[in-house]
């Protein structure tokens, strides 16, 4: 390796040229000068090679990873502070409202909120009947109508305990009678 001449007056301009060449900001004329110097000046060629190697070594330095608990730790603190700030703001607002004698307004607002909540809570929900259930109910309705009709025609009155076993027998007899020997 040649001994570097650090006092050389052309050092600065040669370095500037190398910088521009490596940064790809050199003009076409500067690039031509670099290429010509590489061919004709061994010292310049060495300097360019060293500059390139240093740049490559710097840029290929592997990244360092932050500890995995860094962000969770930060977010824990930040979220806690955010919650505290919201509560403090709400407390401050209420305190201000209280002190400027907005108590009637606050009372009215609270009452209105209670009424709205109560009406929402007490509102009946929309009935949703499953199609199969509706169909079954329809069948029950027509069955009861039929029983009623049978009762009318046979003077047999269906009592509240119609579903009890002791009434099933007479009912079946009556139905059989109705359908076997219609009046």
């Amino acid at each position: 390796m040649n001994s570097p001449d650090f006092s050389h007056h052309e050092d600065a301009s040669a370095d500037a040229l190398i910088e521009a060449f490596l940064d790809e900001t050199a003009s076409p004329e500067e690039r031509a000068r670099v290429l010509a110097s590489v061919d004709s000046e061994p010292e310049f060629r060495e300097r360019l090679a060293l500059a390139t190697a240093i740049r490559d070594a710097l840029r290929s330095t592997p990244g360092v990873h932050a500890p995995p608990d860094l962000i969770p730790g930060v977010m824990r603190v930040v979220r806690q502070e955010a919650r505290t700030a919201i509560l403090a703001r709400a407390r401050g607002w209420l305190s201000t409202a209280w002190h400027i004698d907005l108590r009637p307004v606050l009372a009215m607002a609270t009452l209105a909120a209670v009424v709205v909540l109560a009406s929402l809570a007490g509102r009946p929900g929309e009935e949703r009947v499953d199609p199969e259930v509706a169909e079954a109910l329809e069948q029950v309705k027509w069955t009861l109508a039929l029983l009623s009709e049978v009762g009318e025609r046979t003077a047999f009155h269906v009592q509240n305990d119609v579903l009890e076993p002791h009434v099933l027998g007479p009912m079946q007899s009556a139905i059989h009678h109705v359908f076997a020997e219609p009046q």
């Binding site: 240093i54 290929s60 592997p62």
Partner: protein, 172 residues
């Protein structure tokens, strides 16, 4: 800066900001403490910050804190601890062959970086190693763009001369 914006900013920039602090201080625990503190301070100052300038702001706080620590500890010449070297070659970011090829140069480079004065060292680490944008570096160091470019140019030149001298003395 909202809470969700804050979370995105710190998550995306954590490795580079931590890497910068780590390379300046040479100690993972100290770097983590400083970066965590910078992030929390950024949140506390969110009302003064735009989303675009948030990384620069955090980087500036981190930089100032690191410089303070270095001054207090008088460790400005002892950056790049063995821990960094170990992590570099274990992290898989560079192939073993390439690591061997560049190992000699890297040892010179590390020593030269240790000896390099501020702000050249910070600018070189931020730009060449951590790949921060020029505008982020300007914000971090509170310097105009032209000055950052001049310092970067001078820093590279100083680094080159230091390594050139070392190589010359080694071969002489």
């Amino acid at each position: 800066v909202t809470l969700s914006e804050f979370e995105i900013i710190v998550t995306q920039s954590q490795d580079r900001v931590f890497g910068y602090a780590m390379r300046l201080l040479g100690n993972r625990d100290h770097a983590a403490d400083i970066v965590q503190d910078s992030m929390i301070r950024m949140w506390r100052n969110r009302e003064k910050l735009e989303t675009e300038g948030a990384v620069s702001w955090m980087l500036r706080v981190t930089h100032n804190a690191c410089i303070d620590v270095l001054r207090r500890r008088k460790l400005e010449t002892q950056i790049f601890a063995h821990e960094v070297d170990a992590e570099r070659f274990e992290s898989g970011g560079i192939s073993p062959d390439r690591a061997l090829e560049t190992r000699d140069l890297r040892s010179h480079l590390d020593r030269a970086l240790e000896r390099l004065s501020e702000p050249y060292r910070s600018i070189l680490i931020l730009r060449e190693i951590e790949d921060f944008r020029y505008d982020e570096i300007c914000g971090a160091l509170n310097l105009p763009m032209s000055t950052v470019k001049v310092y970067l140019h001078r820093g590279r030149r100083k680094l080159r001369k230091m390594i050139q001298e070392e190589l010359y003395h080694e071969l002489a």
